[in-house]
Amino acid sequence: MPNELKDARAPAVPKIMRSPRSLTLEITARCNLRCRYCYFFNNPEMEYRDLSTSEWLKFFDELGALGVMNVTLAGGEPFIREDLPALIDGVVRNRMRFSLLSNGALITDEIAAIIARTGRCEYVQVSVDGASAAVHDSCRGKGSFEGAIRGIRTLQRHGINVGVRVTIHRSNVHDLENIAHFLLDELGLPNFGTNAAGYLGTCCVNADDLLLNMEERKVAMATLLRLTEHYKGRISANAGPLEEGRVWRTMEEARAQGKSAFSMGGHLTACGCPSNKISVRADGAIVPCNMLNHIELGRINRDPLEEVWKTSPALNQLRNRHTIPLSDFEHCAGCSYIPYCTGNCPGLAYSITGMVDHPSPDACLRRFLKEGGTLA
């Protein structure tokens, strides 16, 4: 393809904001659980150590000065930090809102009351993978179900918005109806989100036991599409079988009807995160995303975040990923879905292929259909 034609088809280059709107901060490398598919552990690039309270507080002051709006406090397990109240106070003092990602087990009345009092908490996300201890604990460890539900009930008692995330794997794929009933009808949550165990972190060494095979993937997709209709949109997804089911149906419909290319289609346009978000590892390394934590852009309290955000060559390369046409890849040769495809998650692409600038094979519709997949 002549260069000028390629350029004309490439999506416009997004402007860079002066600073990120939000950050994900892995405030600890410690966790009370050892889930079999955790993306966080088993990353060779990562140094598993915690920063001190004062190091985080100093960084929060920098975020406040930059006008950052939100931080997501993750880990590890953020509630394992004894100084969590002090960290939350630092976030609030710097005029930011916050969310927490947790397994729920360490959430006490005391810390829930502190969170509620701030009035700044968007949500606390608790992972729930089953409607019973037998299913949930199979990947997360004995007692983890009880801890998660206790944590959710504590948060509810304090009026904190609870965002449950269900990670789908081989041990719970046939339990999805029970999970939806348990979370939405019994626990009374307004909604919950889903994704699937991906080839990341600890999952890489347990992949055969955890990652959905073709039949299970089809079951997950069909069940979730049916459930989301039944529960009228109370089940959401940004990735995993439900999202794939929706996106792939739209792509197939567009291809069958010969529709023109989607605005984000035909290039590595996924994802848009580097235009408004950035992350920090537990050891203080600034990285584009927790799923791309091998790309070190700098260090907090040593490298000014604003400078990293605006001038980091690696970050700008990631931002320009959207100019790379899918037709450049052997993986995509001759694919009729190219005009509707975004190449999907760069983190998963890297984990599977060792290349960031590559479409994610796991999210390939053509491959899914070729290997026996069907769209409901």
């Binding site: 904001m17 002066r18 600073s19 006008g67 709006m69 005029r95 809102r97 009035g119 700044r120 968007e122």
Partner: protein, 95 residues
């Protein structure tokens, strides 16, 4: 808001300058956000509780070329909207 009122920007609200002079005003307590153009940013920075709205409008007129009367009305209603949503308050008379 009366022209002689002295608006004061809520110190809790974050002025987030994003692209060029365009900005977002963000109230972290309510999660409300308002997008604004360079004129709005200039108005925001002048609302210190010492200047009246009339003085702020005069200052804006002199800072930006060819400010039409309609724009002045828009600025007044912009400040009113900010006040209604808690982004702006009025400096109380000091005894």
């Amino acid at each position: 808001m009366n022209q002689m009122d002295k608006p004061i920007a809520n110190p809790l609200v974050v002025l987030r300058e994003e692209f060029d002079d365009w900005a977002v005003l963000f109230n972290p307590d309510t999660a409300d956000a308002v997008g604004t153009n360079p004129v709005g940013v200039a108005v925001w920075k002048l609302m210190d509780g010492k200047r009246s709205l009339a003085e702020i409008l005069t200052k804006i007129k002199s800072s930006f070329d060819d400010t039409p009367d309609a724009a002045i009305k828009e600025i007044s209603s912009f400040v009113d909207r900010l006040a209604e949503n808690g982004f702006v308050g009025l400096e109380l008379e000091r005894k």
